[in-house]
C-alpha cells in the first residue's frame, strides 16, 4: 500500500454516519474513496455544497456544480447548495464535525502551518484558517517527511494557520495526537516500529508502553 492510501484509509476509519465533513485538496480528497461500508457522511465543499458526490461520468459534467478547486462534481440525493456566507457560517460556527487538511508542518504542541512558504509559495489561505479555527475536529493528512526532513517539528517556523491545535495527525508511519499539548504516538503503521517513528520525527514524542498498530 502506498503512503497516500495508508493515510486516506486510516482517516476514513474516523468517519461516522451523519457527520458533516470537509475535505481539503490533495491527500484529504482521497479519504472519500475509502469510506467504510455502511457509513454515510455529508461531504461539504466550501464553495457552497453539502452532499458532494463523485466525479461525473464523461460528458455528464454540469459546469455550475463544482468542488472548491473548480472541478465538476456530482450532488447526491439530499444535497443542498448555499452561498459563501452560509458555507463559512457552517465552518466557523462549529457545525462541521470534522475537517481533513494537508499540512506543511505540525509542531509538538499541535500547531499547524499549511498555507504559505514565505518567498516560495504564497497560494493564500483560502478556507484553511476558518476550518482549523471552527471545525469540531481537525485531522491532518500528510506524509511524515518532505525532502528527508520531518514535517512533525519541535516548533513551526512557517506561518501558522491557527493557534487552535489540531486533534490528530495521520502519516504513512503513525497516528499522533496531542493530549495536554504534547505530541503523543497513538498508533504505528503496519510493519513500522515505534523506534522508527521516533527516528523519523523531529518533535519530541510521548511514547506509551504499548503502541497499537493502525487498523486499515
Amino acid at each position: 500500500m502506498d503512503a497516500q492510501t495508508i493515510i486516506a484509509k486510516r482517516i476514513a476509519q474516523e468517519l461516522r454516519t451523519g457527520m458533516l465533513v470537509n475535505l481539503g485538496i490533495g491527500i484529504p480528497t482521497l479519504v472519500a474513496n475509502h469510506l467504510p461500508p455502511g457509513v454515510n457522511v455529508f461531504f461539504q465543499s466550501e464553495n457552497g455544497l453539502i452532499g458532494t458526490g463523485p466525479v461525473p461520468e464523461p460528458g455528464m459534467a454540469q459546469p455550475r456544480l463544482t468542488d472548491a478547486g473548480g472541478k465538476p462534481v456530482t450532488a447526491l440525493p439530499g444535497a443542498c447548495t448555499f452561498d459563501s456566507a452560509m458555507s463559512f457560517g457552517l465552518i466557523r460556527g462549529g457545525h462541521v464535525d470534522m475537517t481533513v487538511l494537508g499540512g506543511l508542518q505540525v509542531d509538538q504542541q499541535g500547531m499547524l502551518a499549511n498555507w504559505m512558504i514565505p518567498g516560495k509559495m504564497v497560494p493564500g489561505m483560502g478556507g484553511a484558517m476558518d476550518l482549523v479555527t471552527g471545525a469540531k475536529r481537525v485531522v491532518i493528512a500528510m506524509q511524515h517527511s518532505a525532502k528527508g526532513r520531518s514535517k512533525i517539528v519541535k516548533l513551526c517556523n512557517l506561518p501558522l494557520t491557527s493557534v487552535r491545535p489540531v486533534d490528530v495527525v495521520v502519516t504513512e508511519l503513525a497516528v499522533i495526537t496531542f493530549p495536554g499539548g504534547r505530541a503523543t504516538l497513538q498508533e504505528t503503521a503496519p510493519g513500522v516500529s515505534a523506534q522508527q517513528v521516533i527516528d523519523a520525527t523531529e518533535a519530541e514524542l510521548v511514547v506509551p508502553q504499548h503502541v497499537p498498530q493502525m487498523p486499515l
Partner: protein, 215 residues
C-alpha cells in the same frame, strides 16, 4: 432595474474603480462583463472576490490583461500569473481568510461596521488589527468592505430584477449584490415577472441597478 447593452454597462465603470465580482474559481463569474472590461481596457481596478481563478478564466482574464492594481482575495494558488505579478510588485494582493472575506462583504452590505471572528487570531492575519475579548474569548475586529460596483452572475432574473442563482455558481454573488453602490447583473435566463416564486428569490429586485441585455 434598467436593461442596457454590456458595452454601456462597462462604460459606467471608471478606471481606478473598486469592483466586487462573483465566482469561485471562475464558476459564477459574469464572463461577458469580464470580456468587455478587457476589450475596453479598464485600468487600475481593485477587485474584491474569492480568488483570481485561473489564467484565461473569469478574473484570470483581468489579471492577464494587467487591468488590476489590487486584488483582495482568499486564494491565488491556481493562478501562477497572479503570483508572478504579486512577487514582481506589479499588483498588490491582500490575502484574507475566505470566511472573513465573505463576512466583511456581508457586513458592508448589511450596514455593519465590521465583524468579530476568531479566525486569524495569533497569526500573521492579526497584524494591524484590534483583538477584542468577548466573554473570555479572543476575536479580531475585521472591518466592513464595500465597493463601487458589484458584477453579479445570476441564473434567473425576472422583469423587475429579482434574482436566483444555481448550484455552486451562487458563492459570493448574493452577498456582493448587497455591498456595492452600483449593482450590474448578467443572467443566464430572463423570465417573465411572476415566474420566480417569492420565496425562491435570493436577491430582491430593489438592489439591482442594471441588467446586461441578451445578445
Amino acid at each position: 432595474m434598467r436593461t442596457i447593452p454590456v458595452e454601456d454597462a462597462v462604460e459606467l465603470i471608471p478606471d481606478g474603480a473598486s469592483i466586487m465580482m462573483g465566482g469561485f474559481m471562475g464558476v459564477g463569474t459574469p464572463e461577458r462583463v469580464v470580456d468587455e472590461l478587457v476589450r475596453q481596457g479598464k485600468r487600475d481596478l481593485t477587485v474584491i472576490a474569492n480568488d483570481t481563478a485561473m489564467p484565461g478564466v473569469g478574473i484570470g482574464k483581468l489579471v492577464n490583461a494587467r487591468l488590476l492594481r489590487k486584488a483582495i482575495v482568499s486564494h491565488i494558488g491556481l493562478n501562477p500569473e497572479t503570483q508572478r505579478q504579486m512577487i514582481a510588485g506589479e499588483m498588490e494582493v491582500e490575502l484574507v481568510p475566505q470566511g472573513t472575506l465573505i463576512e466583511r462583504i456581508r457586513a458592508g452590505g448589511f450596514g455593519l461596521g465590521g465583524i468579530l471572528t476568531a479566525t486569524g487570531v495569533g497569526t500573521v492575519v492579526e497584524e494591524g488589527k484590534r483583538r477584542i475579548d468577548v466573554e473570555g474569548k479572543d476575536y479580531l475586529l475585521e472591518t466592513a468592505l464595500k465597493a463601487d460596483f458589484a458584477l453579479v452572475q445570476a441564473f434567473l432574473v425576472d422583469g423587475v430584477g429579482n434574482l436566483t442563482y444555481v448550484l455552486t455558481a451562487r458563492n459570493f454573488n448574493p452577498v456582493i449584490a448587497m455591498a456595492a453602490s452600483t449593482v450590474i447583473v448578467e443572467a443566464e435566463h430572463v423570465v417573465p415577472t411572476g415566474v420566480i416564486p417569492p420565496d425562491q428569490v435570493m436577491t430582491p429586485a430593489p438592489v439591482v441597478d442594471y441588467l446586461i441585455a441578451n445578445g
